[in-house]
Each structure stands twice: as C-alpha cells, then as structure tokens.
C-alpha cells in the first residue's frame, strides 16, 4: 500500500486491462463482437491518458482563458463569447493570444483523445 489507496493505481489498472482486452480477449472473439472489444480498448486508452494529464497544465490553460475572457467565473464560456462577438478576429489586440491558447488547447485535447493526429495520422 502506498498512502491511503492500494496499488496498482488507476493508470496501471487501465493499462493492464487494455492490454488484456487487446491481446487475450480480442483474438478469440467472434467477428460480431470484435468492434465492441476494440471500442472497450479505445475507451480504456483514452481514460488512461486523461488521468495522466498533469493538473497544472489544465490550471495554466484555465488561467490564460480567464485572462483573455476577463472572467474567472466561467473562463471557457467567456472565451467562446469573445470569439463569437468578433473581438478576437484577425487585426484585434488579442487575436494572437487567443490563437496561441487554442493551439495549446488543441494539443492537449489531441494528446488525450486522438494522439495519432499529433503523429500526423
């Protein structure tokens, strides 16, 4: 035991569960159930990557959104309103900062949900 909760931890359990689905279960399944097994493996992989995200990265993105939207209450809704209103259009003062934040946001979201995209896939 390490701390309050037993080990292996969530990340480890998800990883070994995914390997088991792919290497032990999938090969012996009939064709009718293979898609479902691949979806299970996919879901486990996404969950694994989501819990591995360093919370400080999320906090930094939240803070940048809040600064641009000038709203700590709901920074992402505020940022959306800013973009929709045209106040972040090309030529505006905050355009480059918003574009930079969205690029970093896209990077993190792809790292968790669609890592193959970042590899050019």
């Amino acid at each position: 035991m390490s701390g309050v909760l037993e080990r292996p931890d969530a990340a480890d359990l998800l990883a070994i569960a995914r390997t088991t689905v792919l290497e032990e279960i999938l090969p012996v399944l009939p064709e009718t159930h293979r898609l479902a097994a691949r979806m299970v493996a996919n879901a486990l992989g996404i969950a694994q990557r989501m819990i591995a995200v360093d919370p400080s990265r999320l906090a930094v993105l939240d803070a940048r959104a809040a600064a641009l939207a000038q709203s700590a209450q709901d920074p992402w809704a505020g940022l959306c309103a800013l973009i929709r209103s045209g106040r972040a259009d090309p030529g505006t003062e905050c355009h480059a900062a918003v574009a930079g934040l969205l690029a970093d946001l896209a990077q993190l979201r792809c790292e968790t949900s669609a890592p193959k995209t970042l590899a050019g896939g």
Binding site: M39, R84, L102, A103, A106
Partner: protein, 341 residues
C-alpha cells in the same frame, strides 16, 4: 422484435401490399445506423415469390434535426423519380402502434457501404475514377430537385442565405453542447468569410462514404436521406470531400473513394454546373464543424443517461482531431486572405 409485433407488422404489410398471403420468412437487425434501426426482411408473397425488403424505424432517442420516416419516404420518392439511384421506396407506416414506432419499407439493394472497407477497395464501382464520376452524377440528379415542391413542403422555405443559416444553426448547436472555443473559432471564420447565397437545390446533407452502397460494377444506392433539405448544393461537395470523411485515404479527395476531378466531371456530365472551388472549400471547413457538433450531440445522448452506449460515449472523442484540422485550415485560409489583401 417480439412475436406479437412481428405478426402485427405482417398484417400491416399484407394490407399495404394488397397481398393477404404475404408472409415474413425471416427478420434480422442490420448493423449500422446510430439514429435509425434497420431490419432486413425476407418476405414471401402470396404467389410464392420471395423478396428482400429493408425496414427503417427510429432508435429510442433520435436527433431532433432528422426527418420522420414519412418525410424520409417522400424524399426517397422524389429522388427515385429524379433518377437518383436509391432503394425503391415501397410503404410507409405512421402508426406507432404497429411495431412501436413509425417505419418505412424499401426494396433491399445488395452492396457494400462500410466506409473503412470501401476506401481500401481499388475495384470499387468499376474503379476509383468511375466511382467518383458516379457520385458526381448522383449529386447532379439530387441538385436538379429545386424548390418549391408540394410533395416536399415539410422541408419549409429555403434559407435566404444557406451559409449564414448554417452558421446560426451551428451556433445554436454549440450553445447546447457547452463551451468549445476551437469550434467557435472555426465558426467565426466561416461567418466572416461566408460566400453570398446562390439558387437553392435539394441537398442530401449526408452524402458521404458510408452512406453510399457499392458493388464492383457501380454505385448501387444512395442511402440515409434523413438530413436532406434546401440549401447551397456545394454543401454536399464539402461534406463528401472533407478530410474528416475520407476515412484515412486522404489522397482520394472525393470521400476517400476517388479523385475530386472525376467527381466534378461526373457532375457536369449529368447536367450540373461546374462546382465553385472556393465555395466547396468553405463547406469543407463547415463539414468539420458540423461533424463535431453532431458528435457532441451523440455524446449527449449517452451523457443524458437515457441511452447509455459505449459507441455514443466514444463519439465526442473524435472532436479534438476535428478541432486540430479546423485550427490548421483556419490559419491557412487567414494567411491566404492576408496575402490577397
């Protein structure tokens, strides 16, 4: 479907087909269709003839934007009459009491639609060039159907400006889905660069690989008419050619199936006007935004608790990849605008 409903269906079909001896020999759920359920029916007519039909009905929670079965039936009839290659529409039943939900019945057409298989199939529809041309011809026939049409009155009036109407519809979808700033970014760019309106046509609005049935000889049927409506015909080109609907076969710009030039050639060959490349490019970006909001709506069906499904739960995880391409495309288009200014 339980025995009682199956018998109730048989009685209804016998009446609709004016064939008291009609029997259902077999009935099986077909794969695919996140929105509708499809059932394959093996039917024996009173005179002994065997026929294969397909029954389409609603899943428990359908997207609000899709048409009812009777509307889909009217669209199929209009398309069939215009020479579009569709499964022949046979009957429609609006009475939910027969099998639990309204349904339509059409003739079965053999072929392959599964997108990941289709895009890897070099012999598809007589070869990739021929297949892309065939898709162009089908689109030209669909776009020949123009408003007003009494039989399609349920489609309402055509939007005065289809591009801006699209933007407004997507803004509403994003309002419902919760904050997605990258999609907002793409949508804002689309609003700023929307081309002016042109004469409206019927648009299939889901004309893509996966919704087209193929054999090795040709295009067997255009499927899934539930999103059809009046609009800018370039929207169908944008949806078909968008990178996100090429299923990994990026170089084949017409849906991962064949070359874009052949698609356009087929369109012109069947009487369509030469597609406007800039307008198609606008709709290709729009396709990424639209697919993203559809994916979010599908995820919401799972999140609502009314329709727990692993497939629906995974669908919103497509959105980050779409966002990645939206950001890149917006940046490229903005750079192009700056150079042109």
């Amino acid at each position: 479907m339980d025995e009682a409903r199956r018998e109730s269906l048989r009685v209804w079909l016998a009446q609709a087909a004016d064939d008291a001896g009609l029997a259902i020999d077999a009935m099986a759920r077909l794969s695919g269709g996140a929105i509708q359920q499809n059932w394959g029916l093996a039917v024996r007519r009173g005179d002994g003839r065997q026929e294969r039909w397909v029954l389409r009905t609603d899943n428990p929670a359908t997207l609000a934007v899709s048409h009812s079965r009777s509307e889909e039936f009217a669209l199929l009839r209009a398309a069939h009459a215009a020479g579009v290659t569709v499964a022949e529409p046979l009957f429609v039943c609006e009475d939910a009491g027969v099998i639990g939900a309204p349904f339509l019945v059409m003739r079965h057409v053999a072929g392959i639609a599964v997108a990941y298989r289709v895009v890897k199939w070099d012999a598809i529809g007589g070869g990739r060039e021929a297949a892309a041309r065939a898709m162009g011809r089908e689109l030209a026939r669909i776009h020949c159907i123009r408003p007003p049409r009494a039989d399609l009155a349920f489609l309402g009036h055509p939007p005065a400006d289809p591009c801006l109407a699209f933007c407004a519809e997507q803004e509403r979808a994003l309002d419902a889905a919760g904050p997605h700033p990258i999609l907002e970014w793409g949508l804002r760019h689309l609003r700023r660069t929307a081309p002016p309106p042109i004469a409206p046509s019927l648009c299939h609005n889901d004309f893509r690989t996966g919704n087209i049935l193929w054999t090795e000889h040709g295009l067997a049927a255009v499927l899934d008419w539930e999103f059809a409506g009046w609009g800018d015909p370039h929207a169908d080109f944008g949806w078909l050619c968008a990178r996100c609907w090429r299923f990994g076969n990026i170089m084949m710009e017409a849906g991962g199936v064949g070359p874009r030039a052949a698609l356009y050639a087929g369109y012109v060959e069947a009487g369509g006007a030469v597609p406007d490349a800039a307008r198609v490019a606008w709709w290709e970006l729009a396709a990424h935004v639209r697919w993203a909001t559809i994916a979010l709506a599908q995820g919401a069906r799972h999140l609502s608790g009314r329709e727990p499904s692993l497939e629906l739960a995974l669908t919103p995880h497509i959105v980050p990849e779409l966002e990645w391409h939206i950001l890149r495309e917006v940046a490229a288009r903005e750079a192009g605008l700056e150079r042109a200014a």
